[in-house]
Symmetry: C2
Subunit: 492 residues, 2 copies
């Protein structure tokens, strides 16, 4: 037992360094004057070095060997499992490979910004090739250690225990279903005229509306903040959840829905159990994304939510001919074939993800060469989404993920969306009058459902286990397809 407790203390210390890093990273995006970026890089790399040193201390390996499982509680066993996994992740890579990788992604990301602006794939090619070469080396090393496939070894970093053999059939089904469905939805929606919401929406009123919704959803402003940044995100720590948004003055919906999305992430953070690391940390990115999409897609983009918020919208911005329930709902659920993933609607979004997922697997297996990515990208967009990128800037260079070495991340977005729909269906089964709560602006029961079933479970189970424990079923793509049908073909 005392060996285990020593490990607990070490990981408590690591968590404190991670929290410090989280505040410094938030500050970098929200507060830091630009001229100080080189100093902040020093700060963050010192924190990373400290964490590295703690985990790589030979003492940690020795303690792990000494721990006697029979004396541990279930939670402690789960914590020990996560400790071992993280230590294995961290110590599996040779130091040289790690350093080379950090250098490669730093260079590549930096050059990517300019190359994208200039629509110059050739300029980024050598940098991306280097990144991908190293990603493959990482995949090989981790694949051997964890006894999983090359690509699964990459997923593991973002969504532990998730396997592509479970993702493949889900994405296959969506790939079959969505193209025809999208045509059908666009056809149906084309009969509905949208009333433009163009108007001047003052930032102060938008912020008040966002904070009002955060508060109603249970966000604790004594343990968190809302601020502005170029790229909205949720940062900070459990007891200091910091979300950001950006405001445009000609419309309010993007920021409002963005705030609701980030509030989903933040509530996960604020509701995680405390005091034990790493098992009380958030589970991987697919569950994190399920929490943001639960709040954004399952709660907020419903007629019930919009009907509740409508009077407050009018109160904040004055009346407007477009401020009717049907027009707000139809505007917020309009489907379009478009090139940019982050701007995509709920229905086309999975195809953006599937294209990347399939290309990633080809890249990692060596079937697709780095110089051939643009062609393959464009062909897939035309085939699946029926729209051909006008440039690489709006094609394979649009996302930072690959240029930052994040292969295996993309599937989390759509797995999160499917999880969110499945959780909401389960919640409705348990509380049949749930939509009425939402219509009244009473989110206590639905947020408690998430808190008790998802947030408080932290990383005790794998994502698949957790979904099955809560809903009684494995991740169910058919349920998701039916959810989309109900939401998008029932529009009038």
């Amino acid at each position: 037992m005392r060996y285990y407790q020593q490990l607990e203390a070490i990981f408590k210390r690591i968590a404190t360094f991670e929290e410090i890093g989280a505040i410094l990273s938030w500050d970098k995006e929200v507060m830091m004057p630009l001229g100080s970026i080189h100093k902040r890089a020093e700060h963050l790399s010192l924190i990373a070095e400290e964490i590295h040193n703690q985990i790589n201390d030979p003492k940690v390996q020795e303690l792990i060997k000494e721990v006697d499982l029979t004396n541990l509680s279930e939670i402690q066993k789960a914590n020990f499992r996560e400790i071992k996994r993280l230590v294995q992740m961290e110590t599996s890579l040779p130091k040289d490979l790690k350093l080379a990788f950090v250098k490669a992604i730093t260079n590549c990301e930096m050059n990517w910004r300019e190359a994208r602006q200039n629509n110059d794939y050739k300029a980024i090619l050598p940098y991306l090739s280097e990144v991908i070469k190293l990603v493959k080396e990482i995949a090989v090393t981790r694949s051997e250690i964890f006894g999983i496939s090359l690509y699964d070894a990459l997923i593991h970093e973002f969504d532990p225990y998730r396997k592509s053999e479970a993702i493949d059939p889900i994405f296959k089904r969506l790939k079959e279903f969505l193209p025809g469905f999208i045509t059908q939805v666009i056809e149906t929606q084309s009969k509905i005229k949208l009333i433009s919401l163009d108007e001047n929406y003052p930032v102060a009123a938008q912020k008040e509306l966002g904070m009002f919704c955060m508060d109603k959803l249970g966000f604790d402003f004594n343990l968190g903040r809302l601020d502005i940044s170029t790229h909205p995100f949720c940062g900070g720590l459990k007891d200091d959840a910091r979300i950001t948004t950006r405001y445009q003055t000609n419309e309010f919906a993007t920021s409002l829905m963005g705030v609701l999305h980030e509030t989903g992430h933040a509530m996960y953070g604020q509701n995680l159990p405390k005091t034990l690391q790493p098992v009380y940390d958030a589970l991987g990115m697919s569950i994190h994304e399920s929490q943001s999409l639960f709040v954004e897609m399952q709660i907020s983009r419903t007629k019930e939510f919009l009907s509740w918020i409508l009077p407050f919208i009018k109160e904040k911005f004055g009346d407007h001919p477009g401020f009717t329930l049907d027009n707000l709902f139809n505007t917020s659920s309009r489907v379009n074939r478009s090139l940019i993933r982050v701007d995509a609607d709920e229905v086309t979004y999975p195809l953006h993800v599937i294209i990347r997922y399939e290309l990633e697997k080809e890249i990692i297996s060596g079937n697709l060469q780095v110089e051939d990515i643009p062609l393959a990208w464009n062909e897939n967009y035309e085939k699946l989404l029926g729209i051909k990128p006008d440039s690489n800037a709006n094609g394979c260079m649009q996302d930072c993920h690959w240029f930052g070495g994040a292969f295996g991340y993309f599937p989390c977005y759509s797995l999160g969306a499917i999880t969110a729909a499945q959780l909401f269906a389960d919640a409705k089964k348990r509380m049949p009058d749930l939509l009425n709560d939402i219509k009244q602006g009473d989110f206590r029961r639905i947020m408690d459902y998430l808190k008790i079933n998802i947030h408080q479970a932290a990383s005790i189970y794998s994502a698949d286990e957790l979904i099955k424990r809560v809903t009684g079923s494995n991740l169910d793509v058919e349920l998701y397809i039916n959810y989309l049908k109900d939401k998008y073909l029932e529009q009038k």
Copy 2:
């Protein structure tokens, strides 16, 4: 040489931790949601622990022994001198004493807030006694190691190399001069009617005016920020200087002068030379305070500055009958006998400091018992300032310094004021038309004077050496007295 370079690397690392701590501390005052205070305490104590471990690493002592001075440049020698001094400061105290001290000041500060609110000196007495007991132990230990007096050992923490035998005659002279002078000034000023500046001053316009002045003084917003906090301060680091203010809407002068004061601190930070630690850090608190008071008292509270800023005040807030040069100057230089140091004017301020200085010396020497402080405080206020505190809350409990264990800090305020006046007189001697610059809002030459002579010298010399090198004289209280006479008896 390579031993010295290893020391340099260690202190570079320590400096990075200190910078991280500075950002976390700024965030604590300006951004952090209150519920997260216990986490922030963990973050800051981990940083403190890391710094402690670095300095106390036995390797540091070994390296110091090995350094060969003959191979070092002058700057490196000065850096080595400062490294040795800091290591001696840090390692001189037994760990138990340090921990007991941190615990005692944390408890005492926490209880002081409530005790002050309740005007209950008895409630704070046991906590303050414990603090003072430990401060004395620290003084004894450091006094032996540095071969200086008990009280000088305390000053050393805030103003290295400063000795009370040099302060005594300065404060003695001010103590003789000021009481009569104050009577004379108040008598003179009583003939001048002030026009009230009461009005509504919007926060946004106040902020614009403050930032306009900061910019004119050379503050680099690419390397710093202005924000709001309950207690204005200057934090951050060389390349990320963060000052704060607070705004009242019924007047603008307090915030404007506060911003100018903190800008003086911040310019010192932004102009320090980089890359070498600790010798390129700021010199002690008396020089730091001289820089803020230089900008506030020597530059900004002059007729020339006010004449330059007046049109901009009118531009920001509209016209007002009180917006005349004479009225602004007379308002900003009005002298009053008052109880609270932080609200005191330039003329009475040194007496507030001298009272604390003399009491501190009596407390540390053991001549004054903790329970007798209120009586001694009140008697001294009556004797020196001619005003008797109506309560301990407005008396000896008004400042946090003693309750936070900061004995030896107070003299820095007045030594800073005297230094600022001496530097300004020197600058005027070198550039006779300097006041004309200020009248034109051109602060380049005066700020360059500070940069070249004070900021860039960092901690290479002691404060006394630096003042003598720059002005050719020792710290000169007569010059300060003449400055006060010129400024306060010439008013019409």
